[in-house]
């Protein structure tokens, strides 16, 4: 128990630092990119004076460190700011000089309304990834050098060679548009999650399959496995109780790292499938210079990454107590 508390305190402190660094980096970088959000909001024909006045009212002309301090103070009070572009009514205020600031949507509400869709997509993608990867990866590891191993290698090679944007378009074209089997453009129910999830799963599976194969094969060569049969243990006990348990630790760590890839994959896939999650929100925010939304999503992403990795470390320590030391 003492280990867990110490571990949690240390990792949470590290995680907080990571989130702060990421949030500041994003905060500074989006402000250095070309394109003034005040101009984007008001439209190209708005006068420079109006743009400047609006930018000052929005605090965009203050030093970055001042803006960041103000932003952090807001976050501490649970306020992630309001979107520059999105309005509560669902529209965007680009090119609109009358926009009432109070009518703009809060970043919290935008994230809150889109996150459940992304979690559903990510959850299903992960499930498909594991359903595909675990049997193929284990079989490949147990039968190293045989057809199961070769199949795992070839399948991984095919999957890793499919660009996600291309695969997404082809899937939507064939499965949805041509065959009419599963709908996928937009969202009107759970079925709309299936094809986007398959695209993400295909992107993530190769790494899991190969890592699992290698990890299982390596573990099988360990002395404690070779002598297990001599100790009278049955094959099932050896496989499930020893081989897979020891092979699971590297896979868990890999899962922690893959959360980043999952979040990245969601951006492209949601945009192509017009899936109303965090990814689509982020792509629209980037093209519209919607700084508060970009920052909010960046903080959320880094926080998810940190929390998942802490949970992964805890789980790994649970599986292999040697890691506690």
């Amino acid at each position: 128990m003492g280990f867990i508390l110490t571990f949690l305190a240390r990792r949470l402190a590290q995680g907080l630092l990571i989130v702060l660094v990421v949030s500041f980096a994003i905060f500074a970088l989006v402000r250095m990119a070309p394109g003034d959000p005040a101009r984007t909001i008001l439209g190209g024909m708005a006068s420079d004076e109006l743009v400047e006045q609006t930018a000052r009212e929005m605090g965009l002309r203050d030093p970055i460190i001042v803006q960041y301090g103000r932003y952090l103070a807001g976050i501490l009070q649970g306020d992630f700011g309001t979107s520059y572009i999105k309005s509560e009514s669902g529209g965007a205020s680009m090119g609109n000089q009358d926009q009432i600031r109070s009518a703009r949507a809060s970043v919290g509400s935008l994230i809150g309304s889109t996150l459940p869709y992304t979690l559903q997509l990510a959850g299903l993608a992960l499930l498909i990834t594991l359903v595909v990867s675990i049997p193929i990866g284990i079989a490949g590891g147990v039968h190293a050098g045989r057809w199961q191993d070769k199949f795992a290698v070839y399948l991984s090679s095919v999957f890793v060679s499919l660009p996600n944007f291309w695969f997404a378009i082809v899937l939507a074209l064939v499965v949805t548009a041509k065959l009419g089997w599963i709908p996928s453009i937009g969202y009107q129910g759970f079925a709309y999650t299936i094809l986007p999830a398959i695209v993400i799963a295909v992107e993530m599976s190769p790494i899991f399959i190969r890592s699992l194969s290698v990890s299982v094969a390596d573990t099988l060569r360990q002395t404690f496995v070779e002598v297990a049969a001599v100790r009278g243990l049955g094959p099932r006990r050896i496989l499930y109780g020893h081989v897979l348990r020891n092979a699971a630790v590297p896979i868990l760590n890999l899962f922690g790292v893959q959360v980043g890839a999952l979040l990245g994959g969601v951006l492209i896939v949601e945009y192509i499938f017009d899936y109303p999650g965090i990814g689509l929100l982020t792509v629209q925010a980037v093209t519209q210079r919607d700084f508060p939304v970009i920052q909010g999503v960046a903080i959320l992403s880094s926080a998810i990454f940190v929390v998942v990795n802490i949970l992964v470390d805890l789980a790994a320590a649970r599986i292999d107590p040697r890691l506690e030391s």
Binding site: G43, G44, G95, D98, P135, P183, I185, P235
Partner: protein, 528 residues
């Protein structure tokens, strides 16, 4: 038994596992709803651009919102703007117009029309709309200037333009583009901005995320539409919109890429529409500074460009034109002095400008956007290559839309960005001044033309002459003369006229596509 045997299944266990797997695959079936789930009385439109979230029609110049207003808002009249008759007028809230004198135009209004909120339409609404929308502070500066409206009776108004010092004839076509708001809404800005309220065939029902839901208006002046609902959905990516159309998620899509238009031509599920638009695409020269403050250099550049090659790149999305406005505009004619591809003439003008073979010219930046208009990068590269071939030291820059938009317009007190910029100009009326005066009049922007910054007394004189002529027949010739005056100085080169490419579900009948984007769906229905 070995470890291998656990994961090397026997034939029996393999068959058993396969059967269980197949059964598992059917588990999500109850959750899977087939596409084409929409009721056949609902038309879903896939918009390539988001709405603004502010429903005041005078607060924006956003094309998608103008398209949506086409369903909701009524106008005094509509102008279908067909190339064979750009001046056709279809009366809507008005039943006629009459130019009374230089500064007065009279409108007779239709009786028995109501707004979506139940308010009866009348002269007070036209007065409130014109006076509010023409006030100097309104961002969507569609009106030529301030005006005052006199209510003659409940169904007659006179628009006076003396206050703004422009001829009342300016409204002759322009009024067919201006949405009429309720006087009650205009008196309450929060209500005006909070929801759209018009006299059009569909009324606003609700906003669902990126989708605006409109319902058929029972009290529509020409009878309730056949469609029960129109869903206006923002889908940013062009490929996704096509996939949505093919899969039945949407019924109409706009802004098809030329390749998509070609590939969809063989699809039985999709019907295509090609509409010559009100938009011309321009290569604007920055006339407010050297080197393009020199008209000879501008003309030299124009003669270096083979517009046929650009049209080849545009495919179905481009239409040849030889004027600064679209063929669907009042006063369009192929200008006799419009610059054509002529390398010898280009070299002659370069020499006259003091830059033989381009020697001595500074590096010139030509910038364009990517992702907003079709093919800008592709034909921009063609233009840059053609100019370089004649000796222009061109630096070609492609920008993401927001960065390009921030650099596009002339601003007071600072030099314009770059030397040449690519941009389109789309307006919703046959009125030529919406293009000619915005682009080429010395008082249009802080430094002259809104984008090129041109200030030329001869162009101004020609534009003032055509604007002052109240007789449409006489004005026709004056508009052509004004366009010729512009061509002689070439502050910009109109490259081609854009074509609106729509795709819609086969079986959806009765849609009318306007050349500026809106769609009339008041008579549309799905064939059984």
């Amino acid at each position: 038994m070995s470890i291998s045997s656990i994961v090397a299944p026997s034939r029996r266990s393999f068959l058993k596992t396969s059967a269980v797997g197949a059964a598992a695959l059917t588990l999500p079936a109850p959750f899977i709803k087939r596409a084409y789930g929409q009721s056949r009385n609902t038309m879903v439109f896939g918009s390539g651009e988001p709405l603004t979230g502010n429903w005041d029609p005078t607060s924006h110049t956003v094309l998608s919102q103008i398209n949506l207003e086409g369903y909701v808002m009524g106008q005094l009249f509509r102008t279908p703007m067909k190339p064979e008759d750009p001046t056709e007028i279809v009366w809507e809230l008005a039943t006629g117009q009459k130019i009374v004198d230089l500064y007065t135009i009279e409108y007779s209004l239709r009786d028995g029309v109501t707004f979506h909120d139940g308010k009866k339409f009348g002269a007070e609404d036209v007065k409130a709309t014109f006076e509010y929308a023409s006030s100097p502070g309104r961002p969507a500066a569609w009106y030529p200037g301030e005006c005052e409206v006199e209510i003659v009776d409940d169904l007659t108004v006179r628009v006076h333009t003396k206050k703004g010092n422009y001829p009342a004839a300016a409204f002759y076509f322009l009024a067919g583009f201006l949405p009429i708001m309720s006087a009650k809404d205009i008196a309450d800005p929060a209500t005006l901005q909070g929801r759209p309220n018009g006299t059009g065939p569909f009324k606003f029902a609700e906003q669902r995320g990126n989708t605006t839901v409109l319902k058929a208006f029972d009290g529509y002046m020409h009878g309730k539409p056949l469609l029960e609902e129109v869903h206006f959905s923002y889908i940013g990516d062009a490929t996704t919109r096509v996939l949505a159309l093919l899969s039945g998620e949407i019924d109409v899509t706009e802004r098809l890429e030329p390749e998509q238009y070609d590939s969809l031509s063989g699809e039985s599920k999709v019907t295509l529409s090609r509409t010559v638009s009100t938009e011309n695409k321009y290569l604007h020269f920055r006339c407010d500074k050297p080197p393009f403050d020199n008209p000879k250099l501008r003309l030299a550049a124009c003669h270096a460009i083979d517009r046929d090659q650009i049209l080849g790149v545009m495919g179905a999305a481009g239409e040849a034109s030889n004027n600064y406005m679209s063929p669907v505009k009042f006063g369009y004619t192929d200008l006799p002095n419009y610059p054509t591809y002529d390398p010898a003439k280009c070299q002659e003008l370069l020499a006259e400008a003091g830059f033989p073979n381009g020697q001595g010219l500074p590096e010139m930046e030509f910038f364009t956007s990517m992702g907003f208009y079709p093919k800008t990068k592709e034909y921009g590269e063609v233009i840059a290559a053609m100019l370089q071939e004649q000796g222009f030291p061109i630096k070609f820059t492609v920008m993401e839309t927001a960065a390009w938009g921030a650099r596009l317009y002339q601003q007071a007190g600072q030099p314009s960005y770059g030397d040449m910029v690519d941009c389109g100009w789309s307006t919703g009326s046959p009125e030529p001044d919406l293009v000619l005066r915005s682009m080429f009049y010395s008082k249009a922007g802080p430094k002259g033309g809104l984008i090129n910054g041109v200030q030329d007394p001869e162009i101004d004189a020609a534009l003032n002459a055509e604007q002052a002529e109240p007789d449409p027949d006489k004005r026709l010739a004056l508009v052509a003369q004004a366009a010729e005056a512009v061509a002689a100085k070439a502050p910009s080169l109109s490259l081609f006229t854009s074509v609106l490419l729509h795709g819609y579900r086969t079986g959806l009948e009765g849609l009318v596509f306007y050349p500026n984007g809106p769609i009339d769906a008041s008579k549309a229905s799905f064939k059984a």
